[in-house]
Structure formats: structure tokens, C-alpha cells
């Protein structure tokens, strides 16, 4: 190979490399702009909810990042009912479900009295309804969540029953308690 050809090849390689680098660099702003804008990010900030005056069994729904988040104050009986149908659950220990580590327990919550769940069915994203009254759906029903879209059933900790389409337990968003208020969308320290 002649000297000229070698020089040509070297220059072609550097031009090619530089060109590819330029195109990748130019693509960055175009892709980055598709990410949420500053306004959207601010709107997606953690939500603070006052739960001090909730009565037992009451459900509160707040919106966080476009999704409903339920807060339910569970009574003693409700907590006790969680043990009754333990055997019919698909994932009682929440091993294959999505929740922060501090909510991976029997009550699926930090404070057993307060249940915080994303109100989105893990099957196809419908919104299940809160049915706390015993026997509302079937004779065994101990209270829980029922998705009328495809008949998925969850207990009062959002754990899914066997034999329904939903594959996993209802998701728990990151949350923590700060000065008595509930902060959704942010891990505690």
C-alpha cells in the first residue's frame, strides 16, 4: 500500500470516527428532549397527605404521577382478616411483586394501620374497586379489592388471589411518614 493510500485511510478513519461521534452527540438533545420536561418533573414531585383525621376503614385517593394512590386506614379486624385466606394467595410473601423493601411484609406497609397502594391492577392497568365489606364478592370474601375488568381479586394488603388473571400483588409506591404526614413518591431517610 502506498504512502498516499495509507494517509488517505488514516484520514478516512478519523473523519468517520469524528462523524459518528458528531451524529451521536447531535442525537443526545433530540432524545433528551423527549424525556419529561421540567414542568412535568415538578408535577411528579412527592405528594404530601394528611392522614391524621382518617377514620378506620376509610379510603383516600390521591394522584401521583398520573396514577391513583390509595391510602386505607385498616382497623384491627381488617388486619386480622389477612390471615384467614392466607393459603389461597398466589404470592403471600410478596417475593415476585413490586414494592419497596420496607413494604415487603405481611401487611405490606410501614405502619400496619395505613395501607398505601398504587390503584392500578397488575393485570392490564384497570382501576380495582375497594370492597371492604365481608362476603361482597363471594361467600369467602374477607374484604379487599376487586377488579371488575377481568375479575382479579386482592386482599386488604393488595395481595393477589390464586386463579385470577392478575399475576402479582398490587404495587406499593415509595413513601414514608414525615411529622405525622404521609409523603408519597419519596423514600424516607
Amino acid at each position: 500500500m502506498s504512502e498516499v493510500d495509507l494517509k488517505k485511510r488514516r484520514l478516512l478513519q478519523s473523519a468517520g470516527a469524528w462523524g459518528v461521534l458528531g451524529i451521536v452527540g447531535a442525537a443526545v438533545p433530540f432524545l433528551q428532549s423527549l424525556n419529561p420536561s421540567r414542568v412535568t418533573r415538578l408535577k411528579g414531585m412527592p405528594v404530601e397527605v394528611d392522614v391524621s383525621n382518617m377514620s378506620e376503614g376509610q379510603q383516600k385517593t390521591v394522584m401521583w404521577r398520573g396514577k391513583p394512590v390509595w391510602i386505607i386506614k385498616r382497623s384491627k379486624e381488617m388486619l386480622a382478616s389477612l390471615d384467614v385466606l392466607q393459603g389461597n394467595l398466589r404470592d403471600p410473601g410478596s417475593e415476585s411483586s413490586s414494592q419497596p423493601s420496607y413494604a415487603q411484609n405481611q401487611y405490606r406497609s410501614v405502619d400496619p394501620n395505613y395501607l398505601v397502594l398504587l390503584g392500578v391492577c397488575t393485570h392490564l392497568g384497570c382501576a380495582p374497586t375497594y370492597r371492604p365489606e365481608k362476603g361482597a364478592i363471594d361467600s369467602e370474601w374477607q374484604g379487599g379489592f376487586f377488579c371488575s375488568c377481568h375479575g382479579s381479586k386482592f386482599d386488604l394488603a393488595g395481595r393477589v388471589f390464586d386463579g385470577v388473571p392478575a399475576p402479582t400483588n398490587l404495587e406499593v409506591p415509595p413513601y414514608h411518614f414525615k411529622d405525622g404526614a404521609l409523603v408519597i413518591g419519596e423514600e424516607g431517610e
Partner: protein, 222 residues
């Protein structure tokens, strides 16, 4: 002759020469101070609508929910305008000179006239800080502001303090009219440097390729 024609076109309007603000080198600190000054002196009447989520703006207490909502017919149908883009359409020097251009005029309602915008609706917001200026001559065409305006009574600020205060407000307004400036200046050297190197590579590549053609051509000629 053509040049003369064009020169003739430029010099036909009679106005005072506008002052240009002297922005400090610590731009960010000045803009922050300007946001505070804006919150103190301007925000009670003027909104800053396009800066809803700007951290610097919010830190100074300029929040759109606190902005004054004027009915359309207030101030004789000219409610105080939103100032997000004011330096963009009025010009930086214009706004700066306007803010420093109030002088005493007994014939005007409110007692102050403005040298840059005669008949302005805005009452002098700085009379306490700046003190009162008077107009020295009616012949203001092509004159600098300091040649025609004189400070008659002292304000709570020294002239230098007042100038810094107004300059910081203008610095903030310039920032608000295009917050991308800092980003742009930060990216520019990288982008342009990258392209400069690319051009150098391409020029060399071009010369190598075309040497072939020129050689061939010379060969054919001989």
C-alpha cells in the same frame, strides 16, 4: 453615491442616546440580586408569566400565583404588561434608560415624566431610592442621559448603589427573556471546537483525494 444614500437612511430619527447597562462579571450573583430587586420593586404590579418553574425566580419569591391580576380595563386599558420578554422586544438599553429616566414635571399627573417614554403610565417606582431628577434642557436629541438629567434631591441610595440596583433588575430581565443563555455559552466551545477539528480533518482528506485528480490533469496536459 449608493453608500451615501444608505447612510442618509440611518440618520433620520431624533431621540436621546440610550445608556447601556454595565453588567458585572459575576453574572449569576447579579441575576440573583436582580430577581430579589424585581420581587421588591416590580412584582407588585408586573407578572413574570413564563418563568413559572425557574428555581432562581422562585427562590426570589416571584411565584405566578402571587402575581397581581389586573382587569383588562385598568390603567386606561393598558394594564401593566408581563415582563418575561420585555428586554427582548424593547431592547436592553431601552429598559435600562427607561428605569433611570424619570424626572420631575409638575404638568404631568403623578409629578414625574420619563425621558425615554414620554407619557408613560407607570408611576416612578424609584423616587425614594434614586431621589428626584430634573430635566436640564428640552433639546434632548442625540444627547446622553447624564447630559440632560440632573439629580436634584438625594434618595436613600447613593447614585452608585441605585445604578447597581437598576442594573441588577435589567440583568434579571435579560436572563428571564432567554434563560438558555448560560447553557448555550457552556455548550458553544465544545460544539464549535468539535466542528473546527472536523473541518480540519475534512480539508486534509479533501486535499488528499483531489491531489489524485490534479496529478492526473497535469499528466494529461503534458
Amino acid at each position: 453615491m449608493i453608500l451615501l444614500l444608505l447612510i442618509g437612511c440611518f440618520f433620520s430619527v431624533a431621540q436621546p442616546i440610550l445608556d447601556a447597562p454595565d453588567f458585572s462579571y459575576q453574572k449569576e450573583a447579579q441575576i440573583k440580586a436582580g430577581a430579589k430587586a424585581f420581587a421588591q420593586s416590580c412584582f407588585s404590579c408586573h407578572s413574570m408569566n413564563y418563568m413559572r418553574t425557574d428555581a432562581l425566580t422562585l427562590a426570589a419569591g416571584i411565584k405566578s400565583e402571587n402575581a397581581m391580576a389586573w382587569p383588562k380595563d385598568s390603567w386606561m386599558g393598558h394594564p401593566p404588561p408581563d415582563l418575561s420578554l420585555v428586554t427582548a422586544y424593547r431592547g436592553v438599553d431601552y429598559v435600562y434608560s427607561y428605569l433611570r429616566g424619570y424626572y420631575l414635571d409638575a404638568e404631568v399627573e403623578g409629578g414625574y415624566e420619563n425621558i425615554v417614554m414620554p407619557g408613560t403610565q407607570m408611576p416612578n417606582p424609584f423616587s425614594l431610592m434614586q431621589g428626584d431628577q430634573v430635566l436640564l434642557t428640552q433639546d434632548i436629541a442625540h444627547k446622553r442621559l447624564f447630559e440632560v438629567l440632573d439629580l436634584k434631591t438625594k434618595g436613600t441610595m447613593t447614585p452608585q448603589e441605585f445604578e447597581d440596583y437598576v442594573t441588577s433588575i435589567v440583568a434579571y430581565l435579560v436572563y428571564a427573556s432567554d434563560p438558555s443563555e448560560a447553557d448555550r455559552y457552556a455548550y458553544a466551545p465544545w460544539v464549535l471546537g468539535f466542528l473546527a477539528i472536523f473541518v480540519l480533518i475534512m480539508i486534509r482528506l479533501d486535499l488528499v483525494y483531489w491531489a489524485e485528480i490534479h496529478e492526473q490533469h497535469d499528466h494529461e496536459k503534458n
